[in-house]
Symmetry: C2
Subunit: 294 residues, 2 copies
Amino acid sequence: MAGKGKARKGGDRPGQNLRELLRIPEGERVDLASHATDATPGGPKDKAAGLAAIARMGERLADLQERLYAASTAGDRRRILLVLQGMDTSGKGGTVKHVIGLFNPSGCRIKAFKAPTREELAHPFLWRVSKALPQSGEIGIFDRSHYEDVLIARVRELVPRPQVTLRYGHINRFEQSLVDDGVTVVKVFLHIGHKEQRRRLLARLDNPDKHWKFNAGDIDERALWPAYQEAYELALERCSTAAAPWHLVPADRKWYRNWAVSTLLLEHLEALDPQYPPGDFDVEECRRRLLKGS
Amino acid sequence: MAGKGKARKGGDRPGQNLRELLRIPEGERVDLASHATDATPGGPKDKAAGLAAIARMGERLADLQERLYAASTAGDRRRILLVLQGMDTSGKGGTVKHVIGLFNPSGCRIKAFKAPTREELAHPFLWRVSKALPQSGEIGIFDRSHYEDVLIARVRELVPRPQVTLRYGHINRFEQSLVDDGVTVVKVFLHIGHKEQRRRLLARLDNPDKHWKFNAGDIDERALWPAYQEAYELALERCSTAAAPWHLVPADRKWYRNWAVSTLLLEHLEALDPQYPPGDFDVEECRRRLLKGS
């Protein structure tokens, strides 16, 4: 039951490894209905403990991020790409706000993917994704991603089915090439319940300040819930690879969602263990020159 | 002495307007030596009060940012561009971390300008800048900017002097066009002292974890301090326009610097007074449809 020294530091996850716990095993069938959306696997005991644990992680996350960035200035090509997927209202935007908000914004490269433009449609589906990738030392965040091209594209039949079927392989090869180039790909599916979505959509309707987030089309999409769940199951089972596994985060409870994504990032950053690079100059001589000047 | 209702809310700046206080008046000569770098004009009385005031601003800043973004989804083209300039170690990066860290990262577009690439040099100097501008509803942040093209370019004679001289006009017309298109341009010069720079460079040398930020070339640049101060004076006096004025922020005290930049952004956001747009759907019908479904 003994965990890694580093993981134990916070005192929140003795002997646990959330990456393993939430990972969707390669090649296994996925049945979303069997995963409770209000569960808190491996998490703190309640909301108060969750928020406290997140606050405690902030400094460590920012420190590791700075090390990752510092290492890149000396040629370390490693970087992180967080891919966030989930149904409408599952909390992709809230995760960016609350989790990515813990990091130094200058080292984060965030891209929210909307319906593709005409120019994007004229290119292969991975084209726009390739242009938004993080550079060395950065943490990239995709709010939606290339997975939309096997989700809404499948459900809404935006492309012929045989083409969708080919895309799973394209995605796996693309992600493998990222991993080979030093990208740690952290894929997170925010799993919310059908009833929770209704609650959140109604809450948006009840608050005029939230109406800008609401789209009558969201209700049409909601009617396709079973088709989307099936499309997610296929994407998760065909694209959870050893190189770039999917993680399923129950997302009905926002505090757990934020805690889980923060913890996943922390575990990955700790595994990378980036180091400040040594200077390429003579410290004593520089000090002398500085002290000699006025 | 009565301030605006909104400005008074925080209780930190009764009757004050930091924008006016720190603005470099259009057409006036600038003598940097006459501006104390350790002053705290208009600021809280000490560090503790400054940090508390910054913390109090966080929620209001994030709220105004969300409104700005929300308004853009209904066609409001307004956006903010914060331009940060200052000598090495003046705290441009620290400002991004501490001030921009108060905002939702997904609405911020941050660009740190380094030495231009070959491709960038093959284009007019404003080309790379134009590509990094914020979109509607966003807060753009330039860590260094097109001003380097009249600063290091002038001091190091990277381009012939007559060309540098023309650039001030280019910059003013470029910024006017941004303003005409809905950009609020907030230009901030972080003013640190020569001795404070030495102190900060020595501190970097003393801490191996900071060596990656140090460059022996920084000491060579430091030897050109008077030439840089003169180049800044020219840039500030020629490019502090009514449309896009410069603000001089004394930056020896980090807490004051962070407070001042936060306050400048807050005042500009309050002046924009962005509003949540109304929904373009029938709220009651949407509610009925949601409640009817499962």
